[in-house]
């Protein structure tokens, strides 16, 4: 039985990539409907990285980003976190509120809820796609959102899952909206038992 993410086989990683693909495709669709714009999806890359790498990959501990955190319950237990760069906030706010030159550290209440709502919808459709693919029931908590330093946001999964280890599934994907590249990264942390259930459902579980 897999005990931590480093034990995952290449087949299992491929499988998680596929999940990432389907989730992102579904999220792009919802995003497109909400914004009334065509949203192209870049093919996601999935890797097993330690937290330090994730933080460096995204621009260092002090880089300010938008983090949306969702806890998973039901058949799959764990956490999923969306890390969105400024361009995401910019597109959402210019589309819905007609605001340009958004400064993410100075968002007002309305800005905040608009972005949060889009994040909710993306997270929901992402998880729904995975649920449909696997036949698993995945319940999600009400998403929580904050705009802050990368390192401080990442400390939440680091601390909560410190027992499991220092590695996470890092899904690096992105969207192109109106010719603007929007980087979005997703950290997926199912607990080990849930990961096994997920792999088993997809037919790639190794022997116990």
């Amino acid at each position: 039985m897999i005990r931590n993410y480093e034990d995952l086989s290449p087949t299992a990683i491929d499988c998680l990539k596929e999940i990432g693909n389907i989730g992102s495709g579904s999220a792009a669709n919802s995003l497109s409907q909400m914004l009334g714009k065509s949203v192209a999806m870049r093919v996601p890359t999935v890797s097993v990285l330690d937290y330090q790498h994730v933080i460096e990959e995204m621009g260092g501990p002090e880089k300010v980003i938008t983090g949306i955190l969702v806890h998973l319950n039901g058949d799959i237990q764990g956490m999923i976190m969306f890390l969105l760069e400024d361009s995401f906030a910019q597109v959402v706010l210019s589309t819905f509120l007609g605001k340009e030159d958004v400064c993410v550290v100075k968002l007002d209440e309305t800005d905040f809820s608009a972005i949060k709502e889009m994040g909710n919808i993306m997270a929901g459709s992402y998880l729904q796609a995975i649920g449909t693919l696997t036949g698993l029931t995945i319940d999600m908590s009400v998403p929580a959102m904050t705009v802050d330093m990368m390192g401080a946001i990442m400390s939440v999964p680091i601390v909560e899952y410190s027992e499991i280890g220092d590695k996470v599934l890092f899904i690096n994907d992105g969207f192109v909206i109106d010719g603007v590249n929007i980087k979005s990264n997703i950290i997926l942390i199912p607990d080990m038992k849930s990961l096994y259930i997920l792999m088993k459902k997809l037919g790639v579980a190794e022997d116990e």
Binding site: P61, V105, S141, A144, T146, G151, A152, M154, S155, E160
Partner: protein
């Protein structure tokens, strides 16, 4: 003069005029200790309150408030600091996400445990910037004893 960076779940000690830095504390707590007579400073970045609650405790004492603080004191003593002269400043312990019924509530528990440990070691806390809902980068200057807190959304303060 050197800048030493302390990663998450790590600790370092230095002599004046070196500077100790830890980036982006979320629910974690940064503990700055100073013996201004011996001119020795130390900084610990703890992740969790209690080493006995987890299975990995023994392997990573620097991650936990209950084990990291005694370790930090010992490391400072090796550089000539005296326990009775140590003074503390602490920062961090935020709740990064507002989650209903947050059973984890780790930021508050970290701060409480750090205070308990410092009281046990009889080290007075001269200043603190803890709690709330934002991340903090901490610069500690043992030369002046100043703890500088930089927050993305709240500017900078000197304590």
């Amino acid at each position: 003069m050197s800048n030493f960076t302390i990663g998450i779940g790590d600790l370092k000690v230095c002599r004046v005029p070196d500077v100790l830095v830890t980036y982006a504390l979320g629910s974690c707590v940064g503990i700055c200790l100073l013996d201004s007579t011996a001119k020795v400073g130390g900084l610990s970045h703890i992740m969790l309150p209690d080493s006995t609650a987890g299975v990995n405790g023994a392997s990573a004492p620097m991650r936990f408030a209950d084990t990291a603080i005694p370790l930090l004191i010992r490391e400072m003593e090796k550089l000539g600091a005296s326990r009775g002269r140590l003074r503390a400043k602490i920062a961090g312990g935020a709740t990064m996400f507002a989650i209903a019924n947050d059973k984890f509530n780790i930021g508050d528990r970290n701060v409480a445990k750090v205070k308990e440990m410092l009281a046990k070691e009889r080290i007075p806390i001269l200043a603190e910037d803890t709690g709330a809902d934002y991340g903090r980068t901490l610069f500690f200057y043992p030369e002046t004893g100043v703890m500088e807190i930089r927050a993305a959304t709240r500017g900078t303060k000197m304590l």
